[in-house]
Symmetry: C2
């Protein structure tokens, strides 16, 4: 192992260009070749539906599927096969996530903006939603909870779950156990771009949905981007890039904890990025030592080592600069291990989810604290929020004017429509006002 | 003129495929050639910045710009040049839009999901936003109000307005007058894809923004889609297609009003779509006659005639079916002119903005009722909401666990991290719990 693990940068002595480069994300794997391959997959799904999904499962997952839909019997069996401590842990998570997300319900809004002009804004569930749960190196029941719970709370009429089969042709039992606890039954075996395409355009078995949720690899991400703005496709939750964590630590931070948090992120994926910003060179050095120690037992060490190649250890003069640098980076996960939490908290402008203090490792938010773990990565936190109850709803505005209302507001509308050169817009008001005037004359 | 204007469809006697085809949108003008041209424009803006913007203004707007930024003197002069009835009408609109949007402010959320586990969701303004106001055939001060007011209410730190110059090299005075009323000063002269690219990537004069808002032609839309998912680009408000209206009318509807609403939409753009769904053949016939009459004086008649080529007049058996067909179409604007408004309102599932009753023409919402007029077109209302205060904000979640909290929650996190095969995730909890245990032993 090559030490130091974290690429060291002294912020104060760095020039502007150096600073910009330091905070640049590793290049994502999006490329033209991938674009074309994904586009071909979409075409195949559109043309051949279920048959294409079964062919792709043979090709990419190495399994021969008899049917795409998971049967009730498979769900029941998986639930029985899941150890009771996992069931209990899932229940704890479901309880906390439900509590936090149910509080996000929006009240409908109704107001008389001027006499006789009533405006409303009402919230509706998105009718049909698709949840993609990646398989890959680990089953992710946690992601199912993070997507399924707000979908259920929002009242989505149709929830379609799609997830790759394992080598044995089955969906991982823990994922099915979580689905059982949430009472989600519409589950299909498919992974990668083909699964996203199936949700976006529908097949004989898979219902076409209005919006697609869930993280995935570069293929999944690329496919979400291709369908996300297609009127015939489906909306998507978030644009995405590799996952990342940024830790702000002062001289009081415990290096054991900081190292464990950095490694939690690094073990995710070789393309993950981890950044430590600290005012203490001593903490930086101690964290390096701790990384070396904690590495030893980790079976995902090779993934973490790869990820650490694009890591950063940034030394700043003071805590204010630490937060400013963090805001420039706009991290998905921000862990704050400093004495003066309030000082840092008040200065945060861009982040997905924030973990405050020594007893709040990222993993509590990944599973069980109640917050959502589907978050804006790769700097998207500047403009995007993580998944929440809102992600599963939309709003419709209403207006209803009385005759009085139109008499009050109409003249302003006529003036502005004329100023914009829109004749019929004006006429729609004028003809009504004339009608009202003629009624009066008759009366 | 060819009558009937509206392509007639009897819903009950139509087959499934016919029904699907009837509700298909006219093909949008997105195509591969446009994609490449827009991509070239983006590259030019990235490489040449202001110089490229000035060259494009010469090429596409036919003007020689000395500087891109509108001066304070230009704004003051424009305000003086704007007739007082327009200023008053703008003020009325600003008042109503402000009232409706200020009520949309979200409270921050804080809850203890379990003992010692505190979760928060806090709302933040998006720091830098770009507002694109199209020029084209008409100046659109209304769109500036619809975007500028929520941006100001949200507290966005930087609001950049960009809009094409007229042939005389000036921005239309009414647009500048509206900007003056809103106290928006950061205004640039540029239109089309190049303006969007400038907002997304920044130039010497134009600040790079985090999110871009505003409608536009096919070039603008294509450019927004290209920058919208680019991590180096900027988020966008909404995907977009041509504008549209759907009117649901029963036998009591006034054909004069219905025709005026259909024409309001048709005059927008040749690609606009207008649909009338009614239970009354008589109303349909009378609306046809009214369209012919109201056409006569409209200077935008040719645009409207072109748009009417893809219009529909759909006859349904009952009001329930009328709403169901409307939900299938998911219109941007939905006008409801029926006796039993409550019946229809309760059944609406997909729409951008709804206009209830005879005294609520679309134009009141376009300008002054208080609701937003930047809405999901082209079927996007199935998953998207119109622009609102939320569009200018994002949220960040926080969690802070006490030692007690981690002791309560930690074991569940350990179990789930192990189930997902994420060793370091588990360790981040285990190492902390061990520390807490050792503290106790020492004490």
């Amino acid at each position: 192992m090559i030490r130091p693990f974290l690429k060291f940068i002294d912020w104060e002595s760095s020039g502007t260009e150096e600073r910009i480069n330091v905070l640049k994300r590793p290049k994502s794997s999006q490329n033209l070749e991938l674009k074309e391959k994904v586009s071909d997959i979409i075409t195949k799904i559109k043309n051949e539906g279920d048959k294409a999904l079964i062919n792709f499962a043979r090709l990419y997952d190495g399994v021969e599927l008899k049917q795409l839909k998971v049967t009730d019997a498979e769900i029941e069996q998986a639930f029985k096969d899941t150890p009771s401590d996992i069931i209990e842990a899932l229940k704890t998570s479901i309880q906390n996530i439900s509590k936090f997300h149910s509080l996000q319900k929006k009240e409908d809004l109704k107001v008389e903006t001027m006499s006789g002009v009533v405006c409303e804004k009402k919230t509706y569930p998105i009718e049909k939603v698709g949840l993609y749960i990646p398989g890959g190196s680990a089953p992710l029941p946690s992601t199912l909870m993070m997507l399924g719970i707000p979908a259920l709370l929002a009242g989505c009429e149709e929830i379609v779950l799609i997830t790759p089969p394992q080598k044995n042709g089955e969906v991982h039992p823990v994922v099915l156990a979580a689905a059982k606890l949430l009472n989600i039954k519409n589950i299909f075996k498919s992974g990668g771009a083909q699964a996203i395409a199936a949700l976006a355009y529908g097949t004989e078995s898979v219902t076409k949905v209005d919006k697609i949720f869930g993280p995935g690899n570069a293929w999944v991400t690329e496919c979400k981007m291709q369908v996300g703005f297609d009127p015939e496709g489906a909306a998507i939750d978030l644009p995405a890039g590799p996952s990342e964590v940024l830790v702000i630590a002062d001289e009081n931070a415990n290096p054991v904890f900081v190292a464990s948090d950095l490694l939690s992120q690094a073990e995710h994926d070789p393309s993950s990025q981890v950044i430590l910003i600290t005012t203490s060179k001593n903490v930086l050095d101690e964290v390096e030592k701790q990384i070396a120690i904690q590495f030893e037992l980790n079976p995902r060490k090779q993934i973490a080592l790869e990820a650490l190649k694009s890591s950063r250890g940034i030394l700043t003069e003071n805590l204010k600069t630490s937060v400013e640098v963090s805001n420039l980076y706009a991290p998905e996960h921000l862990i704050v291990q400093v004495e003066d939490l309030d000082f840092v908290k008040a200065k945060i402008k861009h982040a997905g989810s924030v973990f405050l203090g020594p007893w709040s490792p990222e993993s509590v938010g990944d599973y069980s604290s109640g917050t959502n773990h589907v978050l804006p990565t790769y700097g998207f936190a500047r403009a995007f929020s993580g998944v929440s109850l809102d992600s599963f709803t939309k709003s419709i505005s209403f207006q209803e004017l009385s005759k009085e209302g139109l008499k009050n507001l109409g003249p302003a509308v006529e003036v502005l429509a004329e100023a914009e050169g829109l004749y019929a817009h004006k006429q729609a008001v004028t003809l009504r006002l004339q009608y009202i005037a003629s009624e009066k004359t008759e009366a």
